[in-house]
């Protein structure tokens, strides 16, 4: 089982993603420069956050044309797991691998804070498992579970036409919604104005997941939250099952 973290010029969360996959899950993980022609040998492909190409034109619009993206699209169509975080989510939308688009936050402010995201679908390759936290407490996937995750973006305002939003709802493709600490979905709990408080969606088949929050920055108690492990551990387990390797052993953080 091999994982790739794609590096675009301007990616800046690549090391965080690599760290989690390598140190928390002891995976065989490689950086892949965006000019590489193929990601065929990988089972999990991560598009990290950052400011690819300086966000010129639109966020993700130019990265979408990087040579590696052709192979990412091919592998995604074949059912490989593709995870896009923040700028990675924007790139997946620009590449039309996920529906919709991300525009400027309503407030026009860059938002950098911890938010709560409510899990809306616990039957995806990214959100189905149970995680043991460092203090021994369990974090078990269930619809309505609140995840405390950091966000850091200026363009996270998810937009799609009414028909697309209807389809996303009908097919349970909305995976995370911004909520308050009690789980209520409200305008006040929405940090960027996104439609229906959407924080993360999958494609119809469920193998491509894009989200604005940063689970890779929430996998260690030192960072204030371990809730991101639910997403990483789920996808690692899914990938391992697909490649029939042994289940991951989470290294204990001491």
């Amino acid at each position: 089982m091999k994982a790739a973290v794609i590096r675009f010029p301007g990616s800046n969360c690549d090391q965080d993603c690599y760290h989690v996959l390598k140190e928390t899950y002891a995976l065989d993980v490689e950086y892949v420069w965006h000019k590489e022609a193929s990601v065929e040998q990988f089972d999990l492909i991560v598009l990290p956050g950052g400011f690819s190409y300086g966000d010129y034109l639109r966020c993700g619009a130019i990265a979408r044309y990087s040579p590696v993206m052709r192979s990412v699209a091919t592998e995604a169509e074949r059912g490989k797991l593709v995870l896009g975080i923040c700028n990675g989510f924007q790139i997946l939308c620009e590449a039309r691998l996920l529906p919709g688009a991300l525009i400027r936050n309503n407030s026009l402010h860059f938002v950098c804070e911890h938010i709560h995201a409510r899990l809306e679908n616990m039957e995806t390759p990214y959100t189905h498992t149970e995680v043991t936290k460092a203090d021994g407490k369990l974090l078990t996937a269930r619809t309505g579970l609140l995840l405390k995750l950091p966000i850091a973006h200026g363009e996270g305002n998810y937009r799609a036409d009414d028909e697309t939003l209807r389809d996303l709802n009908r097919n349970n493709q909305i995976i995370l919604r911004y909520s308050d600490e009690r789980g209520a979905i409200s305008g006040e709990a929405n940090p960027n104005g996104s439609a229906e408080n959407i924080a993360g969606i999958t494609n119809r088949a469920g193998n491509i997941f894009g989200l604005m929050p940063h689970p890779e920055r929430a996998c260690d108690p030192l960072l204030g939250s371990e809730d991101g492990k639910l997403i990483f551990q789920s996808v690692v387990e899914t990938a391992m099952k697909k490649t029939k390797t042994a289940a991951p052993t989470t290294k204990r953080v001491t």
Binding site: L57, R58, A61, I62, Y65, C93, E94, P99, G100, A101, I103, R104, N105, N106, S107, L108, N157, R159, A160, D161, G193
Partner: protein, 76 residues
């Protein structure tokens, strides 16, 4: 030849920048401002391309049809 491309947020898509600028104009003594919408204008010098190819690049790269409309004008 020269191509001039205007990209505007779709009417149905909220334009947060436009709203902020509208409010600033009202504060600057123009209470009658109804709306402001902010887009992009690109001037492209190009040889060896036909209009169909330019429309294609407008759709695929220069604008995002999910949220934006474009207008292309080609000058000899």
């Amino acid at each position: 030849m020269k191509a001039k491309v205007t990209v505007m947020p779709k009417k149905s898509v909220l334009d947060p920048q436009g709203v902020a600028v509208r409010d600033a104009m009202r504060h600057h003594g123009l209470p009658g401002v109804g709306s402001v919408r902010i887009g992009k204008f690109m001037e492209i010098e190009i040889d060896g391309a036909n209009e169909a190819q330019l429309h294609e690049i407008c759709r695929d790269l220069l604008s995002n049809p999910v949220i934006e409309d474009y207008d292309l004008k080609v000058e000899a």
